[in-house]
């Protein structure tokens, strides 16, 4: 690592414009694919696949370039601080994205559903569907013909049955994995690479177990419980909150997989491992979101 003496300003680069092109394909592909969902002969998903190909290639070359530049010793401490701050603010933006969904859940539970059920200051909305009773989870939606409520919900079944409750195992996986990645990082900082690699693999196993269990839970929900995206507001908030969280766990797991592979190939040193550190912050972030989510989506 070089000293404070220079800030590296990269030469002009083809990478960003390719990324912009990839995002354009993504918007067109995603837009047409979603608009054509009811047309089985539509082939617009090919644009989407092309978009992902472009975006992932650009990521590959972009990160490759950054790693090469870092290996050449072109990055000063000050530039590394820019990366640190960039990642921290990015995670803050992700926090605010989840905030929108937590806000929606809170509004629905505290205001909208009780009002529809005839409680509180705006109870007059009960006149829309006079028979509707406010409960949470909403098992009987106001208009059952449009939104068939779920038969069962995912709520905490009490401590006696906690062993059959998937979110319990999920929490165990994710919280433990936050610990294992911390052990891995500490080992790397001490220069103990074998321990580092072992705990990275453990973290990945726990992370992918979480993804698998989450998939299993969705399968249960759709197959046995009548709990779907269309099952009214409970299904809506349940799937969107856990779904976006699960999506971020997948992203984090992919990041950590790449970091583990790089670790096995000899990347990272005791005091220069920003890629790993950033991945680890991201992992802690999804962990914290999960704990909040367990509390407000599953337990209370």
């Amino acid at each position: 690592m070089s000293d404070q003496s220079s800030y590296f300003v990269p030469a002009s680069s083809r990478l960003p414009i390719w990324m912009a092109f990839g995002l354009m394909l993504f918007v067109l592909g995603a837009g047409y694919t979603i608009n054509d969902l009811d047309k089985p002969d539509s082939n617009s998903y090919w644009i989407l696949i092309a978009a992902f190909a472009v975006i992932f290639s650009v990521f590959f070359f972009w990160f490759g370039e950054v790693i090469k530049e870092n290996d050449k010793g072109m990055y000063s401490d000050q530039l590394n601080r820019s990366f640190v701050m960039g990642m921290q603010w990015f995670i803050f933006s992700e926090v605010m994205f989840f905030f929108a969904f937590f806000l929606a859940l809170g509004y629905v539970r505290i205001f909208a559903v009780p009002w529809l059920g005839g409680e509180g200051e705006k109870a007059i909305t009960n006149m829309l569907w006079p028979g509707f009773e406010a409960t949470w989870p909403v098992m009987q939606t106001p208009d059952q013909s449009l939104f068939q409520g779920p038969k069962e919900n995912m709520n905490f079944p009490g401590f006696a049955n906690v062993g059959h409750w998937l979110p319990f195992w999920n929490t165990l996986c994710l919280v433990t994995s936050s610990g294992t990645i911390t052990i891995a990082e500490h080992a790397l900082k001490k220069g103990n690479r074998t321990t580092f690699k072992f705990w990275m693999v453990m973290t990945l196993i726990l992370g992918f177990t979480f993804v698998y269990l989450q998939g299993l839970e969705y399968y249960e929900a759709y197959d046995h419980m009548g709990l779907t995206l269309g099952a009214g507001i409970y299904g809506t908030t349940f799937f969107l909150l856990t779904g976006f969280h699960g999506f971020h766990v997948c992203l984090g797991a992919i990041i950590l997989t790449i970091m583990t592979i790089r670790g096995f190939r000899g990347a990272f040193t005791k005091d220069d491992h920003f890629g790993l550190a950033a991945g680890s912050w991201y992992w802690h972030f999804v962990d914290v979101v999960w704990i909040l989510l367990v509390l407000v989506v599953y337990v209370f």
Partner: protein, 527 residues
């Protein structure tokens, strides 16, 4: 500390590359600033053309030239393009050009991401505009896209609108991360926070607001997407959701957003007023605290946009009081500007004229905002032309005059040539007069009960509407003069000195005019 400018053989030694690839591949903050500014200018004319269609339709009562459906598309896209395409990119462009020079940094902190955050903007707006040519037409639900207009009753192109908004948000977030990192990490040695120029200060806080609320907007459009295509019921009461939820989520983004569009203008105007009054800004510290207070308050006032939607009385009162609190820091700023001018040796060059007009006319917009903040009175004003008058006063002679003032102020630094002062003053007086002809009568028709967002109106509003339309046409045409002045300054004009303005303070006035391609490779020492 100095900078290493990585120059491959093609752009040997500090010069830009030639041809189109210079702009496509650039990592230079000045190039990217220029791209942002031209893009926003293009969008200003596109959104302006839509405003002209609106005013032509409203020139007389009755159906004139466009169908009501097309009218709705015009007013929706006028709003979207002006907010996300004209005002915001213009401020980001100014930030790119000016902030590294104001804080003595060699470039933005993350130059390649800087390029990306610009080039996805044309992608987003290209797709937004292309929806006009798709089946069902463009977005027609107003720039606030309230559910269920934007969900149940939306044209099929709303899917593309949703993804376009996602891309705009991604652009803003990346741009803001870059700006915030640049300001926090790359200030010249000795430039402490309380020595930072005010434009940089306003942008630091604006960038924070953007990172905090653009993801919430992304959340709102994602909920729309799910409701439209995947059967969820966020905004559908039949499933237990609530259409009002959309308004809460939207305005949680939307109210900080309106400060995002005005705070950088505060910074610009502060610089211009101190330069042309030849006095340091009055109450620098209070300016900083006022900006921070406005930003913090902006998170707890959002529901004043929806007083009439049916909130509990406690909510109405809470949002009414917090909204009125904002008048205090804003008042601090206005008094500071006035105190800066007091007993100064003022000269009235074009940037100063626009800035003084900004202070006066923005205050009018602020005061009508106070009227709207009074919840019981708002039941009368809500969704009338009074609201249209209010937000156009803060956005046109507010944000846009701020941008124009900044462009005149820094133009000699960009092009190396002075602009034509006579033409500049002509531009100012024509804009100043026509903007008031356009927006002042809207207060009257609004208070008299003319609703907003309609292609036709009752006969008693005919005279005022004709006056408004004439003012709008003059204002629109006047901006072509602005384009001419800028082009003229690029190609000709009196050579500008480094300082450009007598008494201009700040690091950006210590470099040559036009500013060299790379500045402050070795940072200056700030005393």
């Amino acid at each position: 500390m100095s900078a290493v400018i990585d120059s491959h053989s093609d752009d040997h030694h500090h010069g830009p590359a030639k041809g189109i690839t210079r702009w496509l591949y650039t990592t230079n903050h000045k190039d990217i600033g220029t791209l942002y500014l031209w893009f926003s200018f293009l969008m200003l004319f596109l959104g302006g053309a839509m405003a002209m269609v609106i005013r032509a339709e409203l020139f007389e009562p009755g159906s004139q030239i466009v169908s009501p459906e097309f009218y709705n598309q015009m007013l929706t896209n006028h709003g979207l393009i002006m907010v996300f395409g004209a005002v915001m990119p213009a401020f980001v462009g100014l930030a790119n050009w000016i902030i590294p020079m104001q804080i003595g940094a060699p470039d933005m902190a993350l130059p390649r991401m800087n390029n990306l955050s610009f080039w996805i903007l044309p992608v987003a707006f290209g797709i937004l505009i292309s929806t006009f040519f798709m089946e069902g037409g463009g977005p027609n639900f107003g720039w606030t896209f309230y559910a269920p207009l934007s969900t149940t009753y939306a044209p099929p192109t709303v899917t593309f609108f949703i993804f376009a908004v996602h891309i705009m948000g991604a652009s803003s977030i990346m741009g803001s991360i870059n700006i915030i990192t640049t300001i926090l990490n790359m200030r010249a040695p000795g430039m402490t926070f309380m020595k930072m120029p005010l434009f940089t200060w306003t942008w630091l806080i604006t960038a924070y607001l953007l990172i905090a609320v653009m993801p919430v907007l992304a959340g709102a459009v994602t909920m729309m997407l799910m409701d439209i295509h995947f059967g969820t019921s966020f905004f559908n009461a039949a499933g237990g959701g609530d259409p009002v939820l959309f308004q809460h989520v939207f305005w949680f983004f939307g109210h900080p957003e309106v400060y995002i569009m005005i705070l950088p203008a505060f910074g610009i105007v502060s610089h211009i007023i101190e330069t042309f009054s030849r006095k340091p800004i009055f109450g620098y510290t209070s300016m900083v605290y006022a900006i921070a207070s406005i930003a913090i308050l902006s998170f707890i006032v959002w529901a004043h946009h929806m007083f009439t939607v049916g909130m509990p009385i406690a909510g109405e009162l809470f949002f009414m009081y917090t909204t009125m609190l904002i008048a205090i820091p804003t008042g601090v700023k206005v008094f500071n500007w006035l105190s800066t001018m007091f007993k100064g040796s003022i000269s009235f060059e074009t940037p100063m004229l626009f800035s003084i007009a900004f202070v006066a006319l923005f205050t009018i917009g602020g005061l009508s905002g106070l009227m709207l903040a009074i919840a019981p009175a708002d039941f009368q004003y809500h969704d009338t032309y009074f609201v249209v008058a209010h937000f156009h006063y803060v956005l046109v002679p507010g944000a846009i005059f701020g941008i124009i003032a900044g462009v005149y102020y820094w133009l000699p630094k960009w092009t190396g040539n002075m602009y034509d002062e006579v033409l500049g003053k002509t531009h100012f007086w024509m804009s100043f007069i026509s903007v008031n002809i356009t927006f002042f009568p809207m207060h009257f028709v609004g208070l008299a009960g003319m609703p907003r967002r309609i292609p036709d109106y009752a006969l008693q509003f005919a005279d005022f509407n004709m006056v408004i339309s004439i003012g709008a046409f003059i204002f629109g045409l006047t901006q072509l003069l602005f384009l001419f002045i800028i082009l003229k300054s690029i190609f000709a004009g009196k050579q500008a000195t480094s300082e450009v303005w007598e008494g201009a303070k700040g690091l950006e006035w210590t470099v040559a005019s036009p500013a060299p391609y790379h500045t402050f490779e070795t940072p200056p020492e700030v005393k």
